[in-house]
């Protein structure tokens, strides 16, 4: 039983990170209807920003850790908005496929630039937060897991606030519902889309730092697998649906951790995709998504 709870806890802290990345995918899909393949590399850049910021900020302090987290989020937000401005905005209204290929191009660009500028060899991520292990009735809880879960919960509450309680959030929902109609009632779509990219990328940056805290070996290709899985999480929860992305991330992280702890551990990378295929075949709208009838 205690092993079950331990795995559940590990799964939830991994799932929280997937959820953070999945939110970016889902929000961008909501406003632009395309898969932003470069999102997973923004996540990687977030981890590297943390690595370089860590050189200037004292390790093992809560304040310093938060500063690094904020710095990475800010840097990633700027990066996400720049990508949107330079690569995706010229393609507004183009075929989905072209945007998809551009996204793949941006993803490759970030990965290969990362290999040139950061070096291809894995780096050790500094211990930015003070770390300790608590034991609670046979459960071992590391402070990093607590940080992951607390930070994720706070960011999600913040996101929920922005999306449902602010003016720009209302505009985001309007654009996602119907971009043309939103424009007609005076929403500046470009600003909203740019903001969405900034928000999603900031969450990916936070995800990058939190991931690197728990798996402290970072390299320019580190984003590929977590990115793909986070996307699966977004589809699992219902793409375009914010609570769905959070639920999908937590579910996927938990399932993957349990598979990793079983005799099928070598198949853990296949699990996410198997879930994806099953979901798309039987419930394409995802767990929380509304099924839409396609009109001719």
């Amino acid at each position: 039983m205690s092993e079950f709870l331990q795995q559940l806890l590990n799964g939830l802290s991994l799932g929280a990170i997937y959820a953070l990345i999945a939110l970016g995918y889902t929000m961008v899909y909501g406003v632009l209807r395309f898969i932003n393949f470069a999102h997973s590399d923004v996540f990687m850049v977030g981890a590297f920003l943390g690595y370089y910021l860590g050189k200037f900020i004292p390790e093992n302090t809560v304040g310093g850790g938060l500063l690094i987290l904020l710095g990475a989020m800010l840097g990633c937000a700027v990066l996400g908005m720049t990508i949107e401005r330079l690569a995706y905005r010229p393609l507004r209204g183009a075929a989905t496929l072209n945007v998809l290929i551009t996204a793949i191009g941006v993803s490759l660009l970030l990965e290969y630039s990362g290999q040139v500028f950061f070096g291809a060899t894995p780096r050790t991520f500094p211990a930015v937060f003070p770390s300790a292990n608590f034991t609670l009735g046979g459960l071992v809880i590391s402070s990093n897991q607590v940080v992951v879960i607390v930070v994720t919960a706070l960011l999600m509450v913040g996101l929920q606030f922005i999306v449902y309680r602010t003016k720009i959030g209302t505009a985001m929902r309007a654009v996602s519902l119907n971009p043309k109609a939103a424009q007609l009632v005076g929403v500046n779509n470009d600003i909203v889309i740019s903001f969405t990219f900034g928000l999603g990328s900031a969450l990916a940056g936070a995800g990058g730092i939190l991931y690197a805290l728990n798996y402290p070996s970072i390299d320019p290709l580190m984003g590929v697998m977590p990115g793909l899985k986070a996307f699966v999480a977004a589809v699992l929860g219902g793409i375009g649906n914010i609570p769905g992305a959070a639920l999908g991330g937590l579910l996927l992280g938990t399932v993957e951790t349990f598979v990793n702890g079983s005799q099928w551990s070598t198949y853990k990378d296949a699990i996410a995709f198997a879930i994806l295929i099953i979901i798309l075949l039987f419930r394409p709208a995802g767990l929380l998504g509304k099924a839409s009838v396609e009109k001719v």
């Binding site: 395309f34 898969i35 989905t96 290999q115 295929i277």
Partner: protein
């Protein structure tokens, strides 16, 4: 399309002529071995791109799992030559003719295996459209890779080594010619118009009585067959295959060739395959930056020429 059979014959003759003159070229051209390797790489990429074009371009079904089918073909063909070869050809390895037959059998087995995988993947996933289909095929490709990583007989994560180097320029050209021939004569046949109709408007095609699902699956299976054959050629060219060599970046590489060539334009796709194989070779002196340039080119091309680099039919670039 005037007389595709004639062109097929011509291409096969050219392949034979080239293979006959390899010795002559080797003696006279400095670094021929390198050029030959590049040419073989181009040929394999042409087969992959042209076969994917049948699915992505002509039929309009966006598949991101081509490398998965390629890996099925590569593994099956390699298994045939490695496990069956010594038994059938004996310890000495047999005569050149016997080896040729053996290789043909291996490639066919690889292609058929991949086609079978195409049926298994295609029937459930082709009910989906657009992004979702892309994701499911990507997912299947990754699952195939993980399965190969876990099968001990096929070397697990280390892959298969010591595959006989049967692949020559002749084989690549011959399989390439057959691929181009099959795809072009198929889409220009009465039956094949259905692929284009499925691409243009699915609902209208169904309304006039076309079974679009069957067309999609047929396109998928034929595409997978040639991807498998290309995988077989690749395995017998590199002499070693690993599961990670066929991950989704490989699929994306092939998709990029199809899109740059202009979806549904075989000649353009062939040109794009040549260009994109040569590009990293040309950029080799600035090795570090070549992939950056490659990805930048991709972004710029998508913005400047969304209809594909070699698609000259303006205004017709519907995707």
């Amino acid at each position: 399309m005037p007389r595709p059979h004639f062109y097929l014959l011509l291409a096969l003759l050219a392949a034979y002529g080239l293979s006959a003159s390899t010795g002559w070229l080797e003696a006279r051209l400095d670094g021929w071995a390198y050029y030959q390797d590049v040419l073989i790489g181009i040929g394999i990429n042409i087969i992959l791109a042209v076969s994917l074009n049948l699915v992505n371009g002509y039929t309009g079904q966006f598949s991101l799992g081509h490398a998965g089918f390629m890996s099925v073909g590569a593994y099956l063909a390699a298994a045939v030559s490695l496990f069956l070869g010594p038994r059938l050809l004996g310890e000495e390895g047999g005569t050149a003719f016997q080896q040729g037959l053996m290789f043909l059998a291996a490639l066919t087995a690889g292609g058929l295996g991949a086609a079978l995988a195409g049926v298994a993947v295609g029937i459930p996933s082709l009910r989906l459209k657009g992004d979702y289909l892309a994701l499911v095929t990507l997912g299947f490709g990754e699952i195939i890779r993980v399965i190969f990583q876990n099968v001990e007989v096929l070397g697990g994560a280390l892959g298969l080594n010591g595959i006989p180097a049967y692949t020559s320029l002749f084989w690549v050209l011959a399989v390439g010619a057959v691929t181009v021939f099959t795809v072009t004569s198929l889409v220009h046949s009465t039956y094949g118009r259905g692929f284009l109709a499925t691409h243009d408007d699915e609902v209208a095609s169904e309304a006039v009585g076309l079974n679009t699902t069957r067309y999609k699956i047929v396109a998928f299976v034929i595409g997978a067959f040639f991807a498998g054959a290309a995988g077989g050629l690749y395995g017998h060219f590199k002499m070693t295959i690993t599961p990670t060599g066929f991950d989704f970046t490989k699929s994306i590489e092939i998709v990029v060739m199809v899109i740059l060539g202009g979806m549904g334009n075989t000649l353009g796709v062939i040109l794009a395959a040549i260009l994109l194989t040569l590009l990293p070779e040309v950029l080799r002196p600035i090795a570090e930056y070549r992939m950056i340039i490659y990805s930048l080119l991709l972004i710029v091309l998508m913005i400047v020429r969304p209809q594909g680099l070699f698609n000259f039919k303006f205004g017709k670039a519907k995707l």
